[in-house]
Symmetry: D2
């Protein structure tokens, strides 16, 4: 199976985990949403991230999800989020999913890390725990983790932990961080792949500053595929026009907590998942919220038609 590396590009969708209304895993919907993501042109998938409700799964369920998606992805790379409070659980899940054919694993720093030294030390331990040869993605999401990784500290991680091949860039604001990392690479720092999160909210600017693609879960991944392709072709106006058409919904999905409810509602409207339910505890879209999402989707379709995309 393919592994990610420092040259990985394109759109790698953060997959939702579908549940039935009673909270049971819905593996048929998981197949369908996998098909939707890949059918939209995604290069790969990332599963069991925060937006995949990973902490709500048992380890056995996590393995079942990984097995199902990897099988369905037909050889396209699947990165697995393995963040956990302790290294033992990280190691156990990493071994399981790499055996199943995962392309690499993604780890966010635990909330308590405060000094640069402790962040660096943590990723060294993670690499040792994951085992030689397992590609690592550093998830840099300070809004959720409370951990700030400066470009200089990220450079020390890159220098000290060769298994780190990718940054899931989700700092916010983080545009200057992309510029700083690419400048450091121009001055000799080892290159990594930078794929951007935050629901795609800054994707045109991120691509212009040197990102390699997106790793996030917006319910219409065709937007990200189109923006990344247009940016790769150097047509930033085209990229931005397409982006702008989707932006009202991107913005809505980017709300903490309720954003996942909006995302699942949109995927349910698209027929990809049988229920928009989250496993508890989870936020529920009220009636007004559901109507807001529906309205934004309808307006989006009109605008895409005006762009000649409908």
């Amino acid at each position: 199976m393919p592994l990610i590396d420092a040259t990985t590009r394109g759109v790698h969708v953060i997959a939702v985990t579908p549940f039935a209304g009673d909270g049971a895993l819905d593996l048929d919907s998981l197949d369908r949403v996998t098909d939707l993501y890949l059918g939209a042109g995604a290069e790969g998938l990332t599963i069991l991230g925060m937006m995949g409700e990973a902490p709500k799964l048992t380890q056995a369920e996590s393995r079942a999800v990984a097995a199902r998606v990897i099988a369905r992805a037909g050889g396209r790379p699947v990165v697995v989020g393995v963040s956990a409070p302790g290294l033992a659980a990280i190691g156990e899940l990493t071994r399981a999913v790499m055996d199943l054919g995962a392309a690499g694993v993604m780890v966010a720093p635990p909330a308590g890390l405060r000094t640069d030294e402790s962040i660096l030390g943590y990723y060294a331990l993670v690499a040792e725990t994951a085992g030689a040869g397992v590609p690592l993605v550093v998830q840099d999401f300070p809004l959720a983790s409370g951990v700030q990784i400066s470009p200089a500290t990220f450079g020390r991680i890159v220098a000290g932990v060769p298994q780190v091949v990718m940054l899931k860039h989700e700092d916010w604001p983080g545009l200057a961080k992309i510029t700083a990392i690419r400048a450091a690479e121009a001055a000799g720092q080892r290159r990594v792949s930078i794929l951007c999160g935050n629901g795609g909210l800054f994707l045109p600017e991120e691509m212009a500053r040197g990102a390699d693609g997106a790793m996030t879960g917006f319910a219409f991944p065709e937007m990200m595929v189109g923006v990344v392709a247009a940016a790769a072709a150097g047509d930033m106006d085209r990229a931005q026009d397409l982006f702008d058409a989707y932006l009202p919904l991107v913005r809505y999905e980017q709300q903490p907590g309720i954003g996942l409810a909006a995302r699942k509602h949109a995927l349910w409207r698209r027929g990809a998942i049988a229920s928009p339910a989250q496993r508890r505890p989870g936020q529920v879209l009220d009636a007004a919220g559901a109507a807001e999402v529906d309205r934004l989707i309808a307006r989006q379709e009109r605008r895409l038609r005006a762009l000649g995309q409908g």
Copy 2:
């Protein structure tokens, strides 16, 4: 001078505080930016909020800013942010600005408050400190303060602290909170004015759910004025069309930290302030960021022309 009350509506712009490149207060620019805000149709202003770099001012400077803006506002209401680590400073500044003709004061909860009881107790102390008759705005901005005020707790504040006449709504996500408060009011809770923050990022939805207007600092307040007017007239499509034209820049300004640099850059481009400088410590827009803002403004102008607004 006018006081705010529970019926206050419209757009009340959170004003920037202009500085020269050396960090000195620039009161001439303060006049010009006041004119820009009011010329765009704002009903009032709010000064010395977080985006006004209030903690970077001495108390004497704070009073100078308040005096200048109140004089320039020509009778339109000016709310003053008076949040401080201690009640003595809150009381001192409140007395000073109310004497100068402020329309009310705005207070965010201090970061350490954790229980609902302690939040309620805090606002009771603030009201006593401010003194009878001073209208209070509760600034509800958990992303910055770390303090979560549930709708039920806000209801207890409304019941227990009659001076609270307004919610500066900046929870995120907070749409359901507006709906919950309006529902409680329909069931008998005392009505307050709800003005929304977050740079206007959810303004159409907020108006549809019952907000009375905006209290935020987007550099093109004419957007907010237009959206609030269209919503008040019941034309939500018109509101959203206008909003969408500005959304790429709204989104850019909404980045924590660097967003204020983008906002000041835009106001500087508009000729309202002589320098985009923040007083230190402050984030500086890099060259790529300045180009990004300029590009978004140019695209915004094209789109407004297409809407017949240019």
Copy 3:
């Protein structure tokens, strides 16, 4: 096997989890340290708490530890910490350990809870997840969790979640909370057992205010047994004299992070565990720290002899 209930009293030691120097579980040492705890007069044990390095174990290891301690405890009650980021893992481990004969489970609130309503809702979900009949311990440790549970909110939990039979009291400061809860019970609130943590640092005062005992892991549990017995007999001077003799070491063990290293060093000196090692990542006592602990133990022995306890 016995279950805890609202009348549970005495000392329930928070057990360390012994590891070999290479990080492997050391089950023989686990037997010995269990013997030490019970031999000192403890009424019961609590395993897989934070000081038991629970997040560093896999689920299989957690079950192995629970099985071993429950077997060794010879019928004395063993509470198991099952806190986890998601309810599925809590439910899975709860079922496993209750089947093994645990006396109940302990759950700390997740770090993100901010409003009183969300805390109450969380414990209702935990009770439903654990299943009817499983006794619950609320771990109230805001220094670690960031979640503040006021006495009023705890009262709502007691009223709404009948399975909650015990408070592991680890608020700091928390003496007034014990008084408030006992006063509420005098006014009709359902009684719960209150066992106190914080390494025993306030045990005499806690007993005087109405606590039922201790649930904490100080390396010399005979101190806690003696203090609880003296307090139960109404001899507070005797309780305090005994406490004071151990206090210099209690204080040293109560340091965050390094305190566990000191505790394991002391248990290793006592011959209960074969190695003071923590599983990584963990703090290591430097040479000066080891000497400090040794010195405090030697001074403690002298002082106990002077008290006629040596």
Copy 4:
């Protein structure tokens, strides 16, 4: 007036700020408590720290307190806490108190700092703001500030900001940090004075590891004076015996929030302040708490008599 420098030693008491029951400043009590501190053998004082309720004072009150204490101290050094949300207020108060004869100023990092680079940058700005020649104390109190300063980062501050002459060491646990800083100094890092906080809870160990004294506010500063003197004389057993006699009360005062109420109660019992009141909002010692403090003082006196100190 004297300035502190890198050779400053001894006990520098963090002074309480006395208030009347109605919240008014009580300057007569401020004189008496200053006399008590210096009469106990303190080398100097530190005012307007967190335990001095500094954020509850207006700037005018802060200056009044500083003027009064500096006048009363009769030439002994008085450090002033000037931490504030913005540099302008820091600069304003620094200039005022240095003009009044302060010995230096103390600054804690603001809560938001997360990367080592931002901490270093902050202290460089503070030094520039304070002005050349003003000695700076870095207050390292992560429990309150949330900011972790590693020994390496502190070394960079020492190298980059020559005005920093002292560390108020209040990390917890922090014994290894003292050892690390002294080791770095042995390897060439510029020496600073290290005075320890945390209410003296680890003072014997801190002195043994190389601290120069204490900077904290325990209500019986004669304990700290005696411990520092015995440690300086190399008699660590004597230091510890004295310490142990006071430890039950030291521990009690070290509780967050309520600890200040206990401290003021003890100083009121000693006749140094006319009222134990804190300015609101502040925690109030309940009747049981007052009795606990009284009991601990009575036991302390008995034990000191047994040591031949009564």
